[in-house]
Symmetry: C2
Subunit: 303 residues, 2 copies
């Protein structure tokens, strides 16, 4: 099986939505990406950092999904990254109520030996210098490098972000952030400008409105599945990225046509993620559920 290396946060989240609230639960980009990727025929490993307060049961949960945690460092006298947020009624926007960087403040990722030859590398949303440091630790250039980022790094570390973009093949970014990064409103123009910064494939995420994949003059659109209930959008973008990257790793083909299918697989995983709080739905899916919903995506958009 091919190897997918995931770099990102393993964290605590406390979430409020119009439908309820949680105490500290398992969160973090790498957790969502890893759980989403665990439904594909790939070897998945995480590089991250936690504190001594991180519960053993969460390690077990991830390991039961065959996620390799060799690269997750535990800082003996540190506390785990914590994020607390409240979603607005429409679930499309949220306020951050609290952020404790804790062990993330000094995070210096170390890629374990067994994943230095990963076929695909997914750089979750982190400081671009951390993302670069991981690329530099690989023993060979991965067949595909994906990078996720956010407006915070554009505002505070733009030079480093631009350096990181030179190293990657695919960027995933949301529509507002893409417009901020390019200074263009038209998403078609935006994608071209971002591609000029490095990534040959540009994925623009539009939340409940789906996602666009741009490559040269080509464009593909994956809709989000209209769901009866959306409980909690936390992790949707990461589940999407996890499904996208893992499908490509599994197929071991990295062209536009395969990426179209990968985009649908990513949207599929995201659709499960948002139906329950946190990672609740991602830990308990069956192959049958996943395959059935893929058919719904086909019915949704083929004419």
């Amino acid at each position: 099986m091919n190897k997918l290396l995931i770099v990102g946060t393993v964290a605590f989240d406390a979430i409020e939505t119009p439908f309820g609230k949680t105490d500290k639960i398992l969160g973090g980009s790498a957790s969502y990406i890893g759980l989403s990727a665990s439904y594909f025929q790939t070897l998945n490993g995480i590089v991250s950092v936690v504190g001594n307060d991180f519960p053993k049961e969460y390690f077990t949960l991830l390991q039961n999904k065959n996620i390799d945690l060799t690269g997750v460092e535990t800082i003996a006298d540190g506390k785990t990254f914590f994020w607390k947020g409240r979603y607005h009624n429409n679930l499309n926007s949220r306020d951050t109520l609290e952020t404790q960087l804790n062990v993330l403040a000094d995070f210096s990722p170390v890629v374990p030996e067994n994943f230095k030859d990963a076929d695909v590398l997914l750089l979750g949303n982190l400081h671009p210098s951390i993302q670069i440091s991981v690329v530099n630790q690989m023993s060979r250039r991965p067949k595909l490098i994906l990078l996720d980022t956010m407006n915070f790094w554009m505002d505070n570390s733009l030079a480093e972000l631009k350096e990181a973009l030179q190293l990657v093949d695919v960027i995933t970014i949301n529509d507002e952030e893409a417009r901020q990064l390019s200074g263009e409103y038209s998403l078609r123009k935006t994608a071209k400008m971002i591609a000029d910064m490095g990534p040959k494939f540009v994925i623009i995420k539009k939340g409940e409105h789906g996602a666009l994949l741009f490559h040269k003059e080509e464009v593909f659109f994956a809709p989000a599945l209209p769901l009866e209930e959306v409980f909690d959008p936390t992790g949707a973008g990461d589940s999407f990225a996890g499904g996208f990257a893992a499908y490509l790793t599994e197929q071991d083909v990295y062209n536009f046509d395969t990426m179209k299918k990968a985009l649908i697989h990513g949207s599929n995983m995201a659709s499960f993620c948002v139906e329950k709080f946190g990672t609740d739905n991602l830990v308990n899916l069956s192959k049958k559920q996943i395959d059935q919903r893929l058919q719904e995506f086909k019915k949704l958009s083929h004419f």
Copy 2:
């Protein structure tokens, strides 16, 4: 050829977008619907009203597109409906700067004899009592009746709107308005509640984010084509409705599968509409342009 009867406004618009502004130009829902429908193999007629200030050249323009204007009444001492608006920078929202109802205030539509047996009836966005009066004038029940509406009628004439909804097969409505009408946020639930009010087919328009078609447990999504430039969104929804209704009229098949294709044809016409000011692009399209872009829609969403 089958007949499509269009009821709506024929009007003057003055438009400001970030890219420029126009004086009074041809506008109105029926104008956009008619021009969009003129690219299909159908007999299209408009029922509307204008004032004595309405220029002959606009009549000629519509007639040159083989649109039957027998049902467009000219009020000798009246002035044509006028709307002036300004779009915000993102083109997704706009302010109405001026509305002069003029002859529309006393509009009492009269369906001409030659269109009382229309195969398809499209009720453009107007007072629901006017929409009902047109249905009642038909000599036979059309094979399909479509209704477009907006929040203004929900706020001011909800009882009449609900009466009108009992009479129609298809409603086209935007996402915010659908949520207002149903009181539900989930579009899937929203569509079910609106279907319970009458229309078996519910189309929810999401502007640049595409459109959804709901029917019983089925759902289909038509993306909007990502364009290099959007100049002026005015008339996009009407061009969409015109293409949708005219394709069905041409095919003379009114089931879910045909409606999927119709939704793409509608989105296709809307994509042309927004590329220039007002109706400028809709009056000069070639069959080849239209067919080519339909292929782009296929490439955009088939995987």
